[in-house]
Structure formats: C-alpha cells, structure tokens
Amino acid sequence: MVDFGFNIKKARSFNMSNNDFSKVKMMFEAVPSYRLCISCGGCTATCSARQFTNFDIRKVHNSFSRGLYVNLDKELQKCMLCGKCTLICPRGVNLRSLIIEMRQLLNSQSETL
C-alpha cells in the first residue's frame, strides 16, 4: 500500500444524548470565544507540541464539544502554552485561555468522581 503519510480512521459512533454537556456549558461562560471555532485546524498545524507528538488540539476541542472528556486531560498536558495557536486562529478564539480552563474543568471532574 502506498504510504501517503496519513491514514484513514475507522468510522465511530456515539450517542450525543447520552453525553454530559455540563462542562461545555461552563466553558461557554468561561471563554465566550469558544463558540467561534470553525474547526479549520490552523491551531494544530502550527502547534509546537504537535511537532514532537501526535497532540491534536483541534481533536481535543472537538471531543470536548461533544462531551467526550475521557483522556483529554492527559492529552492537554502536552501543551506548552506557547500561544502560537491563539495568534494564528482566524476566528480569534482565545485558545490559551481555552486550554487553561479546559484543564481546570476536566480536573474538577476527576476530583468529584
């Protein structure tokens, strides 16, 4: 098989009505620019941590929006908070603030469980 440098993932399915969106709502309040994201992937393309790993902030963002919080915390810890994503974002999403808030929200979950 020809190696194109990327692979196609299997389709996955989940039921949105079962997911917990409380953290997403809190995020809307904490970082209003969160809702501006158009998932263009500019942030991931420029990410410093991405240059070393498969850390994908766009993917984290999408998973979070769908209420899939599992393992996001660990992923986010790869972020070096350098702020390139914030600078490059065409929609002006405050990604640094988003990441800090997301870490705190995800952490508060693990504390209560």
Binding site: S48, Q51, M80, I100
Partner: protein, 597 residues
C-alpha cells in the same frame, strides 16, 4: 507633679497593642520563610550590608525619594507626613527629656505641652518650642495636600486614586485627625499657660480663657483616643506599610530572593504596599480599556485579605504582565512575581506530560552560537531568515535550534502559574543547550530572552538579537551605512522593562537612519496588547490596546515602525499602513542596499 493624667491611658493601650500585634505578625511571617531565605538572613544578619539598608530606609521610608522623582507634589505630600512625623517624635523626645520635671514616662514626649506648662525659660527651650511648631506646620501642609488629593487627585498629578476599603478609610480619617487635634490641644494649652510657639500661641490666643479652660482636657483626650484608634487598627490596614517597608528593605539588602510560592517574604511584600495607587495610572488596562479593579494594588490587597477569594482570581488573571506597574512602584515590590504567585496552579496540575521531549538531542555546536528563534518567530519567518543572513554576513557559525521543531522556553507556562511544567521545559532546554557545547545563545524573542537570562542557569552568555547585532556593528562585522530614512522604535515589554535593554536597539537604528522620539518610550512604552501574560482579554480589547500603542508610534510619522519582538510585530502588522519591521529585517535591508550600491 506625677506627670500622669487618665487621658493618656488610650494612648498607652494603643501603643502596647500596636507593638504586640506587629511583633506577633512579623515573627509569624519570619517563621514562614523558605529554608534558603532563612539561611541567607542568618548568615547576613549583622553584616556590613546593614549600612546601605539603613541609608535606603532613610531615603525611602522617610524622604520618599523614589516617589519624588516621579511626581514631586506627591513626594512632598508623603515626605511631609512621614518625615515630619518622625521629626516630631525625634525632637519631641529630646525636648521632653530636657524640659520635663519629675518622673519621665514615654507618653510625656507625646503630651509634652500638657505636662510642661512653664513658658520657654532659656534659648534652648525657645528653639525647641519654635522648631516643634515649624514641624507641625510642615506636616499640616502635607495633610492639606492629602485632603486636596482626595477631593481632586489631578491637582497632584494623579489621574486615579485607589478605591479603599472601609477600614482603610476609618484609619485614614483618624490619621488625618491626629495632627489638627495636636495643633488645637497645644494651642489651647498655650492660651492658658503661654508655653506655645509662633503657631500654637497665635492660634490659642483666638480662644477666650473660659472656653480654653473648658475644652483643654477633652481635646487632649480626643488626641489620645485618635492615636489609640490609629495604632490599634494600623496592623490590619494599609498603614502596616510604615513599619513593614523597613524590614522589606533590610531583607532585600541582605539578599533574600522571592520564591515561586507564597512565603513569609511575600507577606512582608504584601504588607509593604501602601496602596498609593501609583500603579493604576500607568496600567494599559485602565488607560485604554477602563478596567479598574485588577491593578497590582487591588491584587495585593486581595491577597492580603483572603476573604475576597473570587475577586482575587479575577484580579490575578486579568493582567498583561507588561511590567509597567513594577516600574512605577515606589516601594519596588516585585509585582510580576507576586502576580505569578497569585496564579499558582501547582495544586491543580501535578503531572506534566512532556516525556516526548526526552528524545530530543543536541547538535554538536562547538564554536557556534545557538540561534533560538522562539515559538513566535516560527510565525514571522522574515525575522529568522534575516537573522540567518546577519550570521552569514558576519561570518558567525550558528545552529538554528528550533528551525523545524521548537521547545518553548517555559515562560508562558510560568506566567500562568504552571511552575512544575515550566521547570520541566527548562530542564529539557538546558540539557539540549549544554549538550551542544555552543559558545553563546542568541534569541529573537524577548520572552525567551528574559527567561534564559533570569530563570535558566546556562553558563553561556545569552543575547537578544538587538544586543548581538549591536555587538557585531561595534566590531565592524556588519557593513551598514547611513540611509535617508526615519524610524520609531517600540520597546517590547519583556525586552525593555523586563530585561532593561534600551540602548542597543537605539544605537543600531541611529546608525542606520534617523530615530524619531516618541512621547511614551523606554519605561513608559505601551504594550502591543498581545502579551502572553493575559488570557482573558478579547480580541477586540487587544486591538484597542494595539491601536493605542500604534497611535503613539506613528505620531512623528516615521517611514518604518521598528520593534524587536515577533509578537509585537505580529500584533502591529495589520493595524497600520506604515511598514512594521523587526530590527533584524531593517539591518538586513540596509546591508543589501549597501551591497547593491
């Protein structure tokens, strides 16, 4: 004559309470010092460093020289009250020692005129009587300015004064009442016994003998009670700074350094803040966005009274960390570090996940310099290519450490309170740089520069590219020539106020063209609005800050606006029609023009 009257009781009580509370607080804070800080104090407690400390205490706590340099009217106001009160106590003590008959108690110095009714008998007593009146007049003149400042702060050159808590206001009123009450009490006594100086005697003569007789004891009692209120409440309000600053100056002089966590030393710093409000006027958030509850004065207050926990978090987050307030602070409190401490997230994030960095290895660069562009320079490739051209023109071998992959310097994490994560990045960077055995490190990003210089322990010289280019020009390694062009220079926060690099970029630009002066430069320069220290400003607010900075920079209508930070360049680029360039690009353009000619 026993030299005692019941009205001195409140004063005695207040004084004892003051010393007990202060002593208790100071001892408790010293116990909370880090081990390292304690060791330094123990080592230097009786060293010669105590002499410069005493001198600074005299200059700052009494004469308020740093405030005077910034604003002489405010300086006069603070000096007259602090130094005047000190003189009043000092000469009062001498005068009463000489004059008092019968047993001497410490309150006799404060209420001297009440216990010593005889008019001045010899020239020495006469001298002291007049001197004490003169000092009192001096204090009252300062007090007049203080009241004036409360009514209309612009008269004293302040746009905005601090919003005080209720407790602070009560104590302030009691402080303001002390000196007029002293004047009145002494005047009335002077009316009765003729023992006053030029001020008190003349004011006293306005009263009739009958009235004076009736109000003498009540006035002295009131004076004593007001002193008591001030003394008892002082340790719980902003006036705690009066004593604390003395200790802070001493600790600083013996070499105690601020830690990364809230320690006893931080508590001394917090209590040294007099809430004078000098940090408000310069703050870009106040000037451009009218945000008026997050400035350092409020952060420090909220840190001191932890019941405002929510306010604390808000105040801690919303700050550009542009160092402007730290520059303005007359007590020289390390405000940026306190801001960082207040954001400490050590309790939330214990782990870090930077294992992927362990495999990154250094490149053998003996005899080379390392060029560390910084994350942001990856987004401004003209800066990195310009720097490469400069290295090649100067014949300097280099290794571009983050050409393809960049490890952050760790400062952005540190600014947000992720101390442990930042330390991990520092360790990795230090390992890679040490492995490479390079001779020096050149960086294009002021944030990285500040970090490498202050937070790392690299054992090789660290240069910002402005410094490095300036060095190359001085050694005639770069063929630059004077052109007919004009610049204005924007001081990036971390390079200017953060690292005190002001002259090098100006030398370079004056060698190339005409550097035009702007109204707010060097310490007063404005932030571009993009500073990584802030995470809560919206894009719109950042744009407002940027426009404010740009309007200052474009005032003398330069051909090019020059900066030395990829972040500032990025911020300015789309805000104005004038060309915005990094200093490295300007130098490279000049060299290329030179070669073409």
């Amino acid at each position: 004559m026993s030299n005692f009257h019941p009205f001195v009781l409140p004063f005695i009580f207040g004084t004892i309470a003051l010393f007990c509370i202060c002593g208790y607080k100071y001892i408790r804070w010293i116990k909370q010092f880090d081990k390292e800080q304690k060791r330094i104090i123990r080592k230097n407690i009786f060293s010669t460093k105590i002499l410069p400390a005493i001198w600074e205490v005299f200059c700052e706590c009494l004469l308020h020289l740093r405030i005077s340099k910034k604003n002489w009217r405010l300086g006069y106001m603070h000096r007259s009250i602090a130094f005047g009160w000190f003189l009043l106590i000092f000469f009062g003590a001498i005068e009463s020692r000489i004059g008092i008959k019968g047993p001497f108690h410490f309150w006799c110095a404060i209420f001297y005129r009440f216990f010593h009714h005889n008019p001045p008998a010899n020239s020495a007593e006469m001298f002291f009587t007049q001197l004490m009146d003169l000092i009192l007049l001096y204090i009252l003149s300062g007090l007049f300015l203080a009241v004036l400042k409360k009514i209309h702060s612009r008269i004293l050159g302040m746009q905005k004064t601090t919003k005080h808590t209720k407790m602070d206001i009560v104590v302030k009123i009691s402080l303001w009442a002390i000196f007029p009450l002293r004047l009145l009490s002494e005047s009335v006594t002077a009316r009765l016994y003729g023992n006053g100086g030029f001020l008190t005697q003349n004011i006293g003569d306005l009263f009739s003998r009958h009235v004076a007789n009736a109000i003498e004891t009540p006035l002295w009692s009131l004076y004593s009670i007001v002193l008591c209120i001030f003394f008892i409440m002082m340790p719980f309000t902003r006036y705690m700074h009066i004593f604390t600053e003395v200790f802070l100056i001493y600790f600083r002089k013996v070499g105690v350094k601020e830690g990364e966590k809230l320690s006893g030393y931080t508590k001394y710093e917090l209590s040294s803040c007099s809430r004078c409000g000098m940090c408000i006027d310069g703050c870009p958030l106040y000037n451009e966005l009218n945000i008026n509850d997050v400035q350092s004065v409020y952060l420090l207050r909220n840190l001191r009274n932890l019941e405002h926990k929510m306010d604390l978090e808000e105040a801690a987050k919303n700050c550009l960390m542009c160092h402007r307030c730290a520059e303005d602070c007359p007590v020289n409190i390390d405000l940026m570090n306190i801001r960082r401490i207040s954001r400490d997230k050590g309790s939330i994030d214990i782990e870090n996940n930077y294992k992927f960095l362990d495999n990154v290895s250094g490149f053998n660069s003996i005899g080379r310099v390392i060029y560390f562009g910084g994350c942001m320079s990856q987004l401004t490739p003209t800066i990195t290519t310009s720097m490469k051209t400069i290295f090649e023109t100067a014949g300097q071998k280099y290794w571009h450490i983050d050409e393809n992959r960049s490890i952050c310097c760790g400062r952005p994490l540190l600014q947000q309170g992720f101390n442990k994560q930042a330390e991990k990045l520092r360790l990795e960077n230090t390992r890679i740089i040490t492995e490479s055995r390079a001779t020096a490190l050149v960086t294009s990003c002021p944030i990285c520069y500040h970090s490498f210089k202050d937070e790392y322990d690299l054992h090789i010289p660290v240069y910002h590219h402005t410094e490095f280019i300036d060095m190359l020009i001085n050694n005639n390694k770069l063929p630059i020539h004077k052109e007919n062009t004009s610049f204005t220079f924007h001081d990036p926060c971390e390079l200017g106020r953060g690292s005190k690099i002001y002259n090098q970029p100006r030398n370079i630009l004056s060698a190339i063209g005409e550097l035009r002066k702007i109204s707010k430069d060097k310490e007063d320069s404005l932030c571009c609005g993009m500073n990584l220290g802030n995470t809560v400003l919206t894009l719109q607010q950042q744009t407002q800050l940027r426009d404010a900075a740009l309007s200052v920079l474009s005032e003398p209508s330069p051909d090019t606006i020059v900066t030395a930070c990829p972040m500032c360049k990025k911020a300015f680029n789309h805000g104005i029609n004038t060309i915005v360039k990094d200093i490295a690009e300007v130098v490279v353009d000049n060299i290329k023009n030179n070669i073409q000619q």
